[in-house]
């Protein structure tokens, strides 16, 4: 699971009002090279919840993202490459996503988060 996906997911258990961002418990990380695509990065940037993204990146050991961002930074190649790396190249291969409200764990196995709810959660 890349951080792009993490930034889109939340806990959707019935009654949970603050299910985003999901905490991350790391069991295994992987780095996979992805082709650098500035157009896609510029397109995605405004859709990203930056604070959640930057904190999630830290959990996965990526510490070189700024806390505050603005669109003008997209003209900076160095920033784009760091953004690219954190967004698309770091994978949570095994671990858990944790609901910030209930503590419910959503397992991530073979890089795929299992977001299916139990019968009493829908």
């Amino acid at each position: 699971m890349r951080l792009l996906t993490h930034n889109m997911l939340s806990c959707n258990i019935k009654g949970v009002s603050k299910g985003f961002p999901l905490g991350i418990e790391v069991a295994k990380l992987e780095t996979k090279t992805v082709e650098f695509n500035p157009q896609f990065l510029r397109h995605s940037f405004p859709k990203i919840e930056w604070k959640a993204f930057q904190e999630a990146a830290k959990t996965l050991g990526v510490n070189d993202l700024p806390e505050q961002v603005e669109p003008s930074m997209l003209d900076d190649d160095d920033f784009l490459r760091r953004f690219h790396h954190a967004l698309l190249e770091i994978h949570l291969e095994e671990g858990d996503l944790v609901c910030p409200e209930t503590g419910r764990k959503f397992p991530v196995a073979k890089g795929i988060p299992n977001m299916l709810l139990n019968e009493d959660e829908v």
């Binding site: 961002p21 795929i112 299916l116 139990n118």
Partner: protein, 478 residues
């Protein structure tokens, strides 16, 4: 050539004789993809049936025609027509009258060429073909004939309007001869090698409903998939639709409710990832196990995908499933509580997901997650029974651009719907969607009882055997 008013010129589009309903929407989508705004103008040869493979289309430039032809799946070739007629004499007169300055660049000594003879709906011997080719010696070609990879290809095309055979569409007015002869210069044609390259027969990891490569490419074309676009398939399965999207340069994301299908596959070298690796395509940027009925996206997530392409499970080859199984099945009103000691290893049961609810959820999700102007492309089943109420789904955020039917059996067909998101998703729409969602949930048992009409339609023997005579000309069957 008529219609000299307006921008651009008329080109002849010679379609492959398949998926007839899909041909014109594909060209229109590709024209849009390559920057042609507005509706395209089409016209047919005199007295031609709408299913005829020959259509004239007005395009702004030859480059546009070339781009469309190259990217398409269903265009055999696009031509600059030098002449047409109902008889060879008419054709010859038209070619001779075609402006000298338009012909000259293709007749010089340096231009290698060949003439291709294509008779639609009949077969002619190679002697006749050579005779026909030689009959064009009235055109002052200076260049050398080169059969392999010539610089220019000229086509002589003929439709035999008198005979109804081999899938040849009958003329509109049966008493009038629909025979038409065309002579033109090829501008470009479809790269059908894609269909072979991505053929399911060579795909490593397949499921029972994997999307055929040709249709998957068509769906990507309908969805205006291009380099750097972000494409989502909420019923991803083995990834067959996203493989085509990735071929056209998209970044892809998929979700599915079946964990085994998307995570485990049939082993480490036979799963969704390996299907992309097999073709050297970038794998999906994300795969998520999720339920389209209880989506795990953060509530304020909006306008992230450029296109959503899918084949929803509508209960014929594969039934849809959604969360909340046992509780819904037993009609238990009180929450079904899982004991704490069983929670960790608990495998949630699922319940049947009826078509109407599935499509409602799909449209609501797409309205939220598509960019404005983004496209939702999906299959929708239709009943072919007489008097069947085939209402197509709609949504206030979407405009239906095309619906292309493909007949699958005497009882039902499927329709490829292309919808464009034309307005923003509002809080009001969100509230209404939530209401409908709860309504579906409340009436789950009742709706299930009424039975998925389509499924019963297809599977329940009707008692009387259908004694319809299937005409030789197959129309939408091809």
């Amino acid at each position: 050539m008529g219609g000299e008013h307006g921008a651009g010129s008329w080109y002849l589009c010679y379609f492959l004789h398949r998926l007839l309903d899909y041909r014109i929407p594909e060209v229109e989508s590709l024209a849009k993809l390559f920057g042609c705004s507005g509706k395209l103008q089409w016209r047919q040869a005199p007295n031609h049936h709408p299913d005829s493979p020959f259509y004239f289309v007005r395009l702004p430039s030859e480059d546009m025609a070339r781009s469309i032809a190259k990217r398409s799946v269903l265009v055999k070739a696009i031509f600059e027509i030098w002449g047409e007629g109902s008889t060879y004499e008419e054709l010859r007169a038209a070619v001779e009258a075609f402006p000298e300055e338009k012909k000259r660049p293709y007749l010089g000594t340096e231009v290698t060429f060949k003439i291709i003879v294509d008779t639609f709906g009949k077969v002619i011997s190679s002697e006749e073909q050579i005779k026909l080719i030689n009959s064009f010696d009235f055109i002052p070609f200076q260049g050398r004939v080169q059969l392999r990879d010539p610089k220019e290809k000229f086509w002589f095309m003929e439709t035999d309007g008198r005979v109804i055979n081999n899938g040849m569409p009958a003329p509109l007015e049966p008493s009038v001869d629909g025979t038409r002869l065309f002579f033109g210069r090829e501008i470009g044609g479809a790269d059908r090698s894609l269909v072979t390259k991505y053929a399911l027969s060579t795909r490593k990891y397949l499921g029972p409903t994997a999307m055929d490569a040709e249709i998957a490419c068509l769906m990507s074309n309908q969805a205006l998939v291009d380099t750097g676009k972000f494409v989502y398939d909420p019923f991803v399965g083995t990834g067959s639709i996203l493989v085509a999207a990735a071929h056209y340069g998209a970044l892809t994301m998929g979700a599915d409710i079946d964990l085994r299908v998307i995570r485990d596959g049939r082993g480490p070298d036979c799963n969704v990832w390996s299907n992309f690796k097999q073709y050297d395509l970038p794998p999906p940027v994300g795969l998520v196990r999720a339920d389209n009925n209880a989506r795990p996206w953060r509530p304020n997530l909006r306008e992230v995908f450029d296109a959503i392409i899918c084949d929803p499970p509508y209960g014929i080859r594969a039934g849809g499933r959604k969360s909340g199984g046992r509780k819904l099945l037993k009609g238990i009103i009180d929450p079904y509580i899982i004991p704490d000691d069983k929670r960790k290893e608990h495998i949630p049961s699922t319940a049947a997901y009826i078509l109407e609810e599935c499509v409602h959820d799909l449209l609501d999700m797409a309205a939220q997650l598509l960019v404005t102007g983004g496209r939702l492309v999906f299959f929708y089943p239709l009943s072919r029974e007489e008097g069947a109420d085939n209402k197509l789904p709609d949504h206030p955020c979407f405009q239906l651009l095309s619906s292309s039917e493909q007949i699958l059996s005497t009882k039902y067909s499927r329709c490829l719907l292309t919808m464009e998101k034309t307005s923003e998703y509002t809080d009001d729409l969100a509230a209404r969607a939530q209401e409908t969602h709860l309504e579906f949930k409340k009436n789950h048992a009742k709706l299930l009882d009424a039975k998925d009409k389509l499924r019963s339609l297809v599977f329940t023997p009707s008692g009387e055997v259908l004694q319809r005579v299937i005409p030789k000309y197959r129309g939408k069957y091809v």
